[in-house]
Every structure is written in C-alpha cells, then in structure tokens.
Symmetry: none
Subunit: 223 residues, 2 copies
Amino acid sequence: MKILVVDDDPDLLALVAFALTNAGYAVVRAADAGPAIAAFDRELPNLVLLDINLPSGSGFDVCRNIRDRSQVPVMMLTARGEEEDLVHALELGADDYLTKPFSPRTLLARVKALLRRAGIESADTLTAGQVSLDLEAQTLAFADGALLRLTRLETRLLQILIAQAGHVVTTERLLAHVWGHRGSGDRQLLKQLVHRLRQKLERASPGNDPLQTESGVGYRLKA
Amino acid sequence: MKILVVDDDPDLLALVAFALTNAGYAVVRAADAGPAIAAFDRELPNLVLLDINLPSGSGFDVCRNIRDRSQVPVMMLTARGEEEDLVHALELGADDYLTKPFSPRTLLARVKALLRRAGIESADTLTAGQVSLDLEAQTLAFADGALLRLTRLETRLLQILIAQAGHVVTTERLLAHVWGHRGSGDRQLLKQLVHRLRQKLERASPGNDPLQTESGVGYRLKA
DNA sequence: CTGTTCCGTTACCGTCTTGTCACCGGCTCG
DNA sequence: CGAGCCGGTGACAAGACGGTAACGGAACAG
C-alpha cells in the first residue's frame, strides 16, 4: 500500500512519513506542487495526503490535477481556521480532510478509514478483464490459469494500463510512469517495451492482444 | 501463543475461540470488562481481541486499562457503522480493528499480521511444508527427521521466508530483515547467504531445493 | 597458539533485461 | 508524388542480475 504525502514542512513530512511507515505503508514524499504531480505519475500511490498550502501554487491545483486522471482517494491537510478552503477542496474532489495539528494515531485511523471506504484492501494485485497483475511477484495471471513472469518495466507498464483499463493512457504518462522522466522524446523505449510485452502475451494466450494502439495518443488495455 | 478474546456474545466467542484454537493458539475467554481485566492480569496473553460493546462499561475502558500496563497488541471488534468509535479506539492505543461479521479466515489473517507487526511471531518455532525452524536453537528440522544446524544469518533468512512461505519476499525486505538495512546495495551478501544455505540444504536433503529464485524480485520458499 | 566457523569481500561466468540503431510500411499533408 | 511522422519489427551490445568459487579477517573453542 503506497501513500503519497505532500507538504512543504519538512518536520511534518518526516513525522507523517514515520507514522505511516511504521504502520506498514510505503511512503512517497513531495514538498511542492510540481514534484507532487511528478511523483504521482511515477508512483501511482493508493492514497494521497495533500497539504493545502504549498510554496508554489496551492494544493487545490494538485488535487484537481490528480482528480483529472485518477480516482485515488485524497485527504487534505489543513491548518485550523481554513474551513472555507476546506469546502473548496471537497468540491474539487478531495475525499476527506484532517486539521493540523493531529496525532499520528488520528492520522492512521483516518487513513485506514479512507482506504476502507475506497474499497482498497490490497495494493498487491490489480485486475482487469481476463488478466490479474501481481505487483510484488511481477507476474501476470490469466483467467485460464496461465502465469506469466514479467520484467520490472513490463510490470510498471501493465500497472498503469490495468489501473486505467478501458481508457487510453497517453504516451507522456506512460513514459513518466515507467521511466520517470517527462517530456524527453524517448518513444522508442516505449515501442520496444510494448513490442516485447506483446510477444510475451502472444505466446501465453495466442490471438488475443489486449494492448490496443491508439495512434497518435497512446495505448489502451481492453477492459 | 496466548490470545485473550473478550466478547459478550457466546456464539461469537465460541466461533472465534474455535478458529483460533484450530490454528494452534491458546485461547482465554472473557465476556465482560471486569473479567477481561482480571483474565489479562492472570494470563498475560500475547494478543487481545476486544469487542467495543460490552454489557458493563465499554471496550474503551478495557483497552485503556490494558494499554496502561502493557504493550500487548489489541485488536478491536466492531459492528458495522461504528466508525467513530473506531477512531476513538485507535486513539486509545488499539492496533487494529475488525468489522463484524468476519470470516474465520479473515480473523486468522489479521491476527497473524498483527502478531507479525508486533514482532511477537518469534514463537520459537516456525513451520512450512517439510521444514520446521527452531529460532532459539538455530536448527532446521526436516519432515524425515533430519536436523540441520544453522548460522545466525541463515536463521534470520529462513525466519522471514518461512513466515511468508509460498509468497515472494523482496530482496529489499530480506536485506532489511537479515542485516537491518545497511544501505541498499549489498545484494552480494544475500547471494552468498542463499548460496551457502542452499549447499547446506542440498547436503541434508538432496535434489529438493525449497528456495526458489524470483528473478528481479527476490526469493520464495516452496509452500 | 592453532584450527574451525562464520561471513564480508572480490572476481568471474552465463543469462536476462533493456537501451540503441536500423529498417519497414502506413498515413498525412503540402 | 515525396517528405515526414508514426508505429512495428529485428538485431546488437552494454549492463544488471544470479550463481559460484576463492580469499581473508574476526570470533571462538580447544
């Protein structure tokens, strides 16, 4: 279970990260809006803890940005007396909020509650259609029982495609998620990765390519 | 491993006790707050399963009372729709919760997870498949009666592998568990440890390597 | 002191993964 | 029609990774 924590206060960041790590969550940190978006695309966390006040821009932008592309639960962190901001955040799609200061126990309780509400029990497996991806074992299980071993990059590629099953995923987002760099024109890498993955899938279940090319846009996984 | 179960519903108590006993735990029962405290002091269980709603007083009091004098892991049992109580309980120091109704399998999984998290899994012996590990004696017993002396590191390695038998354990987790997270680059240590352990196992029971390599991920113990 | 055990370290090898280049065919647009 | 972009495919090589062997220091027993 991976949680992205966005806050510009290093002390708070450290405290929250410590509490969450202790509770068994994997924590990804970001201190500002830009890095937060980048980290989100790269890591695809299961939950986002988002401070409203950020150095550049505001948490609102980050929240809207994330909500545009994912249903991931978002919990806003607010200082006391920012109730109006709070309403705004909830309108933007935030799922819950927490008022500073808060105790680690409160944080954990709310995080757990939110995860449960979102129906996320296990981050280890993603399922879409006939395939089920085990992130930890790096394997892909087919409905007919076949099991396919994947490489690290193949796993990351399928992770985002399955998470967005049925919807097109932009070349940009794929590059950002799999390799971590944005913008640079490394499309050849993606071509090769898709090619190799298709070969593997073809061998495992012939005549049934679930990877659909959306020319000029990106790729899509058949739902 | 002793578990104290506190619930005023005799049926649920019987069910839970049956499931836990079957799984090899010793079970102590209590049906109300007073007896629960008494039983706790008398038996000093390794874990407490605690219903929030009790006839006299509430589970909160019992939880606080126990937490005042012990670090023992406490799991709360709640009925659906008691989320607020839940937060309260977690703030009081409960470590986990379970919403009724739950299946015995769920219960066991959560109990095991909680014990593991609390580091109490050191129940002296761990068993998986044909092998049984004695943590204190640092020995590994095979089903056919063979006994193998292990080194400290080998014991720690097998400890986590047996605890997760059948599931992949990441290289990272293995390094963290065996060596205590010294940097992250020390994979050669793990290679050597696995190699040496395999040699030992091969000598003890030839042609039957229970350590499976999951390339690019980690290792797995055959279940 | 001497031998043994444990284990960290370096080195080498074969295999798998992945980045890179080169080429092909289809499509679009001037 | 031809240039240019895009996606697909094959081939190659660097590098990562796992397995194995060997060396040597540290701790310890006799």
